[in-house]
Structures are given as C-alpha cells and as structure tokens.
Subunit: 429 residues, 2 copies
Amino acid sequence: MLFLFFKGKLELNQRKEGEKVGLIVQKFGGTSVGSAEKIKNVATRVLEEKNNGNDVVVVVSAMGKTTDVLVSLAKELSSNPSKREMDMLLSTGEQVTISLLAMALAEQGVKAVSYTGWQAGISTESIHSNARITKIDTKVIANQLAAGNVVVVAGFQGISEAGEITTLGRGGSDTTAVALAAALNADKCDIYTDVTGVFTTDPRYVKEARKLLSVSYDEMLELANLGAGVLHPRAVEFAKNYQIPLEVRSSMERESGTIIEEEASMEQNLVVRGVAFEDEITRVTVLGLPQSITSLSTIFTTLAANRINVDIIIQSTTAEDTTNLSFSIKTESLDETLQVLEDNKETLKFNRIESEVGLAKVSIVGSGMISNPGVAAEMFASLAKNQIQVKMVSTSEIKVSTVVEKEHMLNAVQVLHETFELTGAFANA
Amino acid sequence: MLFLFFKGKLELNQRKEGEKVGLIVQKFGGTSVGSAEKIKNVATRVLEEKNNGNDVVVVVSAMGKTTDVLVSLAKELSSNPSKREMDMLLSTGEQVTISLLAMALAEQGVKAVSYTGWQAGISTESIHSNARITKIDTKVIANQLAAGNVVVVAGFQGISEAGEITTLGRGGSDTTAVALAAALNADKCDIYTDVTGVFTTDPRYVKEARKLLSVSYDEMLELANLGAGVLHPRAVEFAKNYQIPLEVRSSMERESGTIIEEEASMEQNLVVRGVAFEDEITRVTVLGLPQSITSLSTIFTTLAANRINVDIIIQSTTAEDTTNLSFSIKTESLDETLQVLEDNKETLKFNRIESEVGLAKVSIVGSGMISNPGVAAEMFASLAKNQIQVKMVSTSEIKVSTVVEKEHMLNAVQVLHETFELTGAFANA
C-alpha cells in the first residue's frame, strides 16, 4: 500500500502540497540547521507539513561545522582518540540541534519534544564510530505522536546493548531517518538538503544538467556510490530493503525534489539516467604475480585487512605464465597501498609495482541498460570520437564506469551527457 | 572511619602529597577545563593522584563559556524555552568535557572512561533545570574502578524516572561530586577551582585576607550563602549530611587548599573565621500593615510564590496599631517585588512602600561565636567607631550580618577583618 502510492503516473508520484499522507519522516542535514536562522526555517518546513495534517518525525544532524570543531578539539588532546570517546563527543552535536529545533517549533506554536538516539529507542551494534542499527523500539516516539507532538530525533547516533553511546558513521543521519521511517511504517521519508534533487550530472560543472523526477533505488545506489553525494548508500540500501519511498529535496527552495522508489516510473524510455564522476583516482598495477589460484584472493584480502578500498580490478595473463593485475584506488590511499604491498612482497611473490596518478572515473548509470546491450559500446565510441582514452572499464547491470585522465574528465561527462540525450530531455520540475 | 581521618591535629587534616587514601573524587569547574591546554593540565592532576596509588573519579563541568554560548543560541530561538529542552541542550556541555578529558588521560597513559549523568547512574527528581539527586546506582562506576580505570563523570546532570535528561541547577557539578563521594564511600572530595582555598575575606578587595586551613560545614554554609562563591551551599549541605571531607583547592597551583569538615580542628581559638560581603542590596519597607496574626505570613508567602528571595526581615510595631515591615532583597529583584506587592495591595492591606537602594551586606562568620556572646556587640562598636551606620541586622548562631551603605562596604570589611584579628593570624599554607 505504501509502495502503491508511488506506482503509476507522475501525478501520483509527486505529492501535491497540502495532500494528507499520514506520517512523514523529515531529515535535515548539517547545512540546513547551520544557524539559529536556518533552524527557524526548518521549524517552518515542519510546521507546513504539520499543517497539511501529517504527523511528523524530524531527524537532524549537528549544526554546520560543529563536528569539525569537536574533531579538532579532540585532535588537540590526542593523536589517536578512542572511538568510544569520539562517539561520546560527537553525539553532543545532534543533541544541541534537537533541543534548539524543539524550542524553535514551540516558538512557532508547534508542540514538539526532542530525543537523543538512546532515548528514541535506537539500538545499534556494540561498535564505535561505524555501528549499524540493529533494532528500533518505537514506543516512546509513537506515544508522543499520539499525543500530537512533533518528535525531533538526533540523527547519527544510537545505544549499544551495554548502554554505550554509538554513532553510525558517514551518512548516519540519512540512515537514522530511513530506519525510523521503516520502523514507524511512515508513508514517506523526505531528505532535505542543500540541492533541489538528484541531477543527471553535477550541475556545478555541467550547466545542461537536469533534475531527475525519479530514480530507482538501484540507480541511486550506483549514483551514491559513484560520488553523487546527496544521499548515503547505506540509507538507500535501507530504503530499498524496507521499500521506503524517499524524496531528496531542498530545505530552502519550495520545489519538488527527486523521488527514489522501486521503479522509476517516469523517463523509462531513457536508457541512461545520469552521469557520475570523481577525480583523484590512481591506477596501481602489480606485475609478475604467479599464476596460482590463490594469488588474486591473497592480494585483495591483504588490502582489505588494511582497510584499503579497491574499486575497479583488471587481470591479464602474460606470456611468461605470470599475471599482471591492475586496480583503481583513491589517490589518498596510494602511499598506504604501496606500503602494504611492499610489506607483503614475500607472501604475494610479485615482481614489481607501477602506479599512475592523475586519473578520474566517469560512469553512466541507468536501469534501462539491462535491456540495451549496445550502451557500453556507444559510450566507448563517443569517448573515442572525442579523443578520450579509456584506461580501465568496469560494468554492472545498470552502470558502466571508465577511468580516464583527469584532464579529460569534465569533457567526458559533457560528451556522455549529450550522447545519452540527458540534456534537456525532461523538464526541471 | 572516614571522618576519623580528618579528626585530630593539623598534620592529619592536611594530607601529605603521595599519601595513599584510597578513593578520591575530584571536581574541576568550567574555568579549570576552559581549553584543550587546561584539560591537559587537569589530566596531569588526575595522573598525580593516580600515581599516589588512589582510585580516582573525576567530575567536570562544561568548558568555560560553553553554557553561555548555548544559552544565547536558545534565546535566539525562543523567548521562553522549555526547561526540558534547556536541560537537553545544556547537558551537552559536560558531555563534551568528559570525552575530551578521557582522551587527554589516555594520551598521558591513564586508562579512563567517561560517563554522562544517566550512564553513571545518577537519578534525580522529575524536575527540569533544578532537580535534586534522588539516588545513585554506583554499579557501573564501581566496575570501572575495579578494572583500574579513572572514571570521568559529567557533573550537573542526571536522569529522571521517565528517562528524561535533567540538570541540577546552580552549583550542580559540586553537588554531583559530593553525592558521588557519598555514594562511593570516597575518602575525600577535592573541589578544584580558580582560587587556592577559602579566605578570611575576598583577597581581591582586602590584601590582608588569609587562606583558612579548615572551616566547618556550618561555617562554610554561611560563607557560601553570604556570597563567598567558591562552593555551592547545596554541595556543602550534602557533604555535611554524609560527612564527606571536602578540600577546596587550586587547579593551577600545587598548594594545599582549605579543608571543610565537621569541626574545624585548627584555629579554634578564632571566634570569627571570615568576613563575607555582597553589594547591590535593597531595603524595602512596607508601612501601615494591619496588626493581624496572618499579615506577616501572607506577605512572605506572596513574595515566595513569586520567587522573590528575601534575606533579612525586621518587624516593628507603631503607635497606631499598625506594623512596619522591612526586608532586604537583591536590587535586581526590586521592580518585581514592588509589582507583586502593588498587585496584592488589597489582600495585604498596607498603607505604602518605601525602598532604599545602594546598600550592601557585611557579615562575620565563625562557630566560636556560639560561646562568645559579646561578638555582635564588638562588631557594632567597631563599625560605629568608624562612622559606619548599620541599617539592618540579622544573626544566627555562627553569623552576624549587617546591612550598611554600599560606599562603606569595603571599609567595613577591612575594619572587621582587623577587629577580629584575621589579618595575619595564621600562615598562608
């Protein structure tokens, strides 16, 4: 039933202002609550939703630069602060915001009550700095909603079985919002941010970028992982698992955002939905590995054990019965990667290592690709026609990623945006 | 046994550095933890006590001006913020300090763990902004001490039965420290502050002021209530009730402070232990009250219901069968006091009100007074000899307070400090 609401035509997808939908979870990030003025604005947005006849649960992050200030205080005191104490420290940021927002709501005549993560019944794993939510006891929140209160919940935090304050790591407040929406069986989860929605590509670099009316969870996952940055992949996965419709929208502008749901009902004729990109990519090539069955698993197990994230992997066999292995990493991990490989040279038995910095990744994403086998070929042809050399390729069912030289990145994005007719293909709202 | 330790001679009262006494609760106020540097200094002080072989529980306040910053943020959002949300907001201040101190301790090689009020098992009344501690469950702290950890606890805060975060009001961190000392059966509670101890009078105004080696709980209560300001009366009362020896000492200087215990064992020959004073006092006189049995109780019940604190009260009967009533208040309460009285004129049936601003209170305190009936007379004589007019008088068993004109205040303090031989009567450490 939840899901049905977003099926069908555009008119049903885009909720009309004033339309009653029951229970809404709203999430406002750090920039949306960065000052007293901005908190007042958030209170107004909550009031509007309340005036529409909806019950509202609001999840907020720490104000603007609060987290940075706390982190630098910690660094003044310790070169390697304990994760437990960092969670204790950082969780105060959201606690400040919830109380201030509750006050701002009361000032606007809205009955509101704030709760920290532990008070809101958000249980997590007993892991600090990157815990996953294990359970939400909605009793307290449900009681407050029943009493007509807006419930303001601190994002990013929870409590472990032992009663320790934990935090959820990057994108934690998005995850809190989606998890609460799932636990409370909310009708919708609105993610308010500083952009007006999800775009075909980054509008700061490509002026023809268009806002998407809707994308599927899977597309959003690829876009999120590929650095689109508006929504954390963990939160998208959570929403997909529990079929929570999300809307990414602006906290300042009063226009509809981008709906994220199971099937993108609009624009289905579009094979490619967006072009994502990120720079500061490095390719590392390990030469002369023995052709044993275990050598591939050994090398990536070693890298993973040292928390080095590897993205694209390419293996090629040489004439000398050895294997050359290339993989891409973020450039910031290069020194550590080289160190780890050298430290394990005896076990891994490779010959030597080469690396190439100054690369970038450009990817096209769209669930329409599954039934369109020519998409990757069209992408390569288009890049070749524009003298852009592809250094590495990786594909999934709904994505093709290429590694190119960094200086060609924006050109590649522009070219692909045109090739796949994303430019001006649909309206901006 | 606890108490015995501080009985007897001076040598036993003043703990030698390095002497093992078991479990010590240390409390550091906002100025002592006002920066990363100062938190490092606090960690050093904790380390020293740990190196003496003691178990240590540390109670800290919010860093320096944190509370002020949070209060002004709240004021930007609400003219009258809810006390519940203010407690939610302000309690973050101590939570920041505990985590930073735990990190600073770890950096100095001291195993430490931080706890908020609710984690530390501090239960309070279900009242916001001024709750009293009702119960302390010491299980968590005791376990951590047994594991060899220094336990850092957030002062000023607790949790109500309903799971709400509460704060203890003014002097709350002092109260937390003393209450924990009582609950844990600690050997001593050290209150670290920005002065080196309790003085015979305020050393900022009277250069002959001397630090007291010890004062009794009752004397400290009078001194605290009379504006000496180093220690909150609630904390002193708590310490008295549970016979917890306190030491007020400097967080920066490494000298002994002032011991507060049942009987001040030193300086018992001194009749007067200190001279306290405060300015901005106003005398209000209500003229022509009917001489009914209830008029006195009615007037002060009315003032109390409006949260106006009345200090000294003097009643005099006139020839016309009416009563004149004078009382002293803080000058900041004058407007409200006059308003309340005018609003209730019909009930109270008085004739008119006079008020005199620009007054000050000067008091002498000392448990030796009980057995020395001439002390008040000596005080008045000494003030008269110096042309200082006494406008109001109030006495208790261990205190005589006088109200004088503000311009005479410091002269009166100086004169009394000499009269009762406090100047240079004992050494400064």
